[in-house]
Amino acid sequence: MLNQLRPALVTITFFTLVTGLCFPLAVTGLGQALFPAQADGSLVRRGETVVGSALIGQNFASDRYFWPRPSATGPEAYNASASSGSNLGTTSVKLRDRVTGEVQRLREAGVAGAIPADAATTSGSGLDPHISPEFAAAQVDRVARTRGLEPEALRAIVLDHIDNRALGFIGEPRVNVLELNLALDALKS
């Protein structure tokens, strides 16, 4: 095996340089030049301030905003520097108790009828930027009341923010919570 030592050491060194440094740095250079907004994380700015990323969910707890899905990240929800799912199995008592709590919270917020599944479950990443159109619709009355808006007018804004399936079948219908809430804030000014 000793005669394999030289090729092993040389190839590891060579490929560490080529695939470990040249490749990612070349992609960084070209990516930054061609698609600067995406390469920097699709950041959303209001004025000069970065208010989030269009791709990353953030927590909204106040009644003035549409709420995102529950999040399993720690120590706080929607911690974008430590992504995590709950990893709880379907028969977990912790899962049942947590969802019971979520259901109660949504009921208190005026959600009637069957609760959309995404409204009471945590996402895989804990950073899901989207909610289902059903969950958005279920929140219209609460947000309209808090903001003193006509529910019908708000419903139209929500409808406007539904991303539909591409070509009619690719992806799932969804609403980006941050973008919807930004639209609400823009409304008042």
Binding site: Q4, P7, A8, L9, V10, T11, I12, F14, F15, T16, T19, G20, F23, A26, V27, T28, G31, Q38, A39, G41, S42, T49, V50, G52, S53, L55, I56, G57, Q58, N59, F60, N79, A80, S81, A82, S83, G85, S86, N87, G89, T90, T91, L95, R96, T100, A114, P116, D118, A120, T121, T122, S123, G124, S125, D128, H130, F169, G171, E172, L182
Partner: protein
């Protein structure tokens, strides 16, 4: 299940089918040493590398020489990666100021990436510096995949040649796999990923002022470049803790397609390459048809089980229409998550876009079972092909016993020597998986890591060792694996699954290469066509799957019935 869901799934398979032939032909010319359109740029680089490394590209190796070269290369890769992780704090490109990785975790991670497993007992964005991600992990994403491809090509030559003493040169195969196949593809896919929204920056992240008045620290990094080779090399080790469920690894349905397409196409095309190089394309298509049949069945079961939802939550007032959404992203829904879950485990990828541990009992059984079958649908780049060929040899042997003829595959007589090596390889999986699971299920220090009590807890342990020994890397994440016990035992399982499998396979290659390749006669059992597809499926399920059934019955199957009965733990 909906028609739209099946259309989403069908589109992916059509796209992969479209590239199997062109990519397969390209790889056949790469591994036959022919000139390709990249040769004007890459041939001088290649020559220079061989000169410095002291490799004579014209000089081929026998199976022992080839295997020793592969082992030496893997050991060197392990040492380099282990050193980078242990010295992380002193190395550059560490904007978050992460400390050195602990010895047991560094061992586990280095083994994991060198064996193409990419099991991760750490969260990427909370543990690894950009330098470790790039110069450490990304490098092995390339090289462990190239190693698998090299081994598969060596076995392919053993079938193609008659009375040959050599099966190729490992250094040449590995170099060409990296330079001519993986690197150019990774470059294209990485740029497409950036366009789709994957970050690619050396900054550590930004702090956002959220609308609700809080601060959100958003971790960033060179994500797109790592994601590209993570998929093309069927590695699966994510930049972030939650892998491709993270919106920065997989922001949309389109990036989801590209993720799955990238991981599936090289492995599938390599099967065509096999057919092309042994001069029997029909044989390649026959193997592909077998893989596709089982894989589509896997997708269907996951999709059906997950779309059915969790009746325990429905009873609390949750609408069942969206299916089981715990651990899943809204933008993917049930169809795209089921597709990802089955493909990532039919391959040895192991990346996830939803949390397998939160799947229903049967939905989670499928990925676990696909790993236990040996990851041959179509499996990791290279490793899947040689795994499938081992099953093909077993199939002709069984068929030969049934009809009383000497078994042959592609004109090579299959005799007891090859069968012994094949069984040695095939038995390593149940030994490592069931052995370690049994010990961990009774050892208090191992049981303490379990996240969900009841049958799901056993599933977490069983999945972990299946994933490690199968070199997959996906997990039922409830298990806290970053303990000395799991770091060590999972590391050993990964080494067994990779090398205790590959060495007997190389011995088969050496033995087959020496044999005369005789033309097919009327007495030859046909190994291409629907009959052989059926036989091969039966052998894979019986030989690969049956020994795991008792363990599966105690874990995911019980869990599914418990869920239907409303029982919680």
């Amino acid at each position: 299940m909906t028609l739209i869901g099946w259309l989403q799934i069908g589109l992916l398979f059509l796209a992969v089918l479209a590239v199997v032939k062109p990519l397969g032909l390209y790889m056949a010319s790469v591994f036959s040493g022919e000139r390709t359109w990249l040769s004007p740029i890459l041939a001088p680089v290649e020559r220079g590398l061989y000169a410095v490394a002291g490799v004579d590209p014209k000089k081929e190796q026998g199976w022992l020489g080839y295997t020793f070269a592969m082992l030496a290369f893997s050991v060197a890769g392990f040492i380099a990666l282990y050193a980078i992780l242990r010295l992380q704090a002193y190395l550059p490109l560490n904007p978050q100021g992460f400390g050195n990785v602990a010895p047991d975790l560094a061992f586990n991670t280095a083994v994991s990436f060198v064996t193409n497993t990419n099991w991760q007992n750490y969260g990427g964005e909370t543990t690894m510096s950009h330098f470790s991600q790039m110069a450490g992990l990304t490098v092995q994403n390339f090289l462990s995949a190239a190693t698998g491809m090299a081994l598969a090509m060596a076995l392919t030559r053993a079938f193609a040649r008659s009375q040959a003493a050599t099966i190729g040169n490992f250094w040449v195969d590995m170099t060409r796999a990296t330079l001519y196949v993986l690197l150019p593809l990774a470059f294209i896919v990485a740029l497409a990923f950036v366009a789709m929204g994957l970050p690619q920056t050396l900054s550590a992240g930004v702090t956002a002022q959220t609308l609700d008045g809080a601060q959100q620290v958003i971790a960033l990094g060179p994500v797109a470049s790592q994601e590209a080779i993570k998929q093309l090399g069927t590695n699966g080790g994510g930049f972030f803790n939650v892998n491709a469920a993270h919106p920065f690894e997989n922001p949309s349905a389109f990036s989801n397609y590209l993720n799955i397409f990238a991981m599936l196409s090289v492995s599938a095309a390599l099967v065509f390459t096999f057919g092309q190089m042994v001069g029997n394309r029909r044989q390649g298509w026959t193997l592909l048809a077998t893989m596709a049949t089982l894989l589509v069945a896997g997708v269907a079961v996951v999709y059906w089980a997950e779309a059915g939802g969790n009746p325990i939550l429905t009873a609390l007032g949750i609408d069942g229409a969206q299916g089981n959404m715990e651990g899943k992203e809204v933008r993917f829904g049930q169809a795209m998550t089921a597709l990802y879950a089955a493909v990532t485990t039919g391959l040895s990828d192991g990346g996830v876009n939803g949390m397998h541990g939160s799947f229903t009992g049967l939905g989670g059984l499928v990925p676990m079972f696909l790993i236990q079958l040996g990851e041959v649908l179509p499996g990791g780049v290279g490793s899947g092909l040689y795994g499938m060929l081992v099953f093909a040899l077993l199939s002709v042997f069984v068929a030969g016993l049934m009809v009383g003829r000497t078994p042959e595959f592609l004109g090579k007589k299959i005799e007891s020597r090859e069968m012994k090596y094949a069984m040695l390889a095939v038995l390593i999986l149940p030994l490592a998986i069931l052995g370690f699971t049994a010990i961990s299920a009774v050892l208090p220090v191992a049981v303490a890591s379990v996240g969900t009590a009841g049958p799901h807890g056993l599933s977490e342990i069983l999945y972990a060792f299946s994933s490690a020994a199968g070199n997959n890397g996906s997990a039922f994440g409830g298990l806290s694996g970053n303990t000395p016990w799991y770091n060590t035992t999972l590391g050993i399982a990964m080494l067994l699954g990779r090398f205790a499998y590959a060495v007997p396979v190389m011995a088969i290659a050496g033995s087959l290469a020496k044999k005369v390749r005789s033309p097919a006669s009327s007495g030859t059992f046909p190994t291409d066509g629907p009959l052989f597809v059926g036989l091969l499926i039966a052998i894979i399920l019986i030989l690969g799957g049956l020994q795991f059934f008792p363990a599966l019955a105690l874990g995911p199957i019980v869990e599914h019935f418990a869920m239907l009965a409303g029982q919680t733990y």
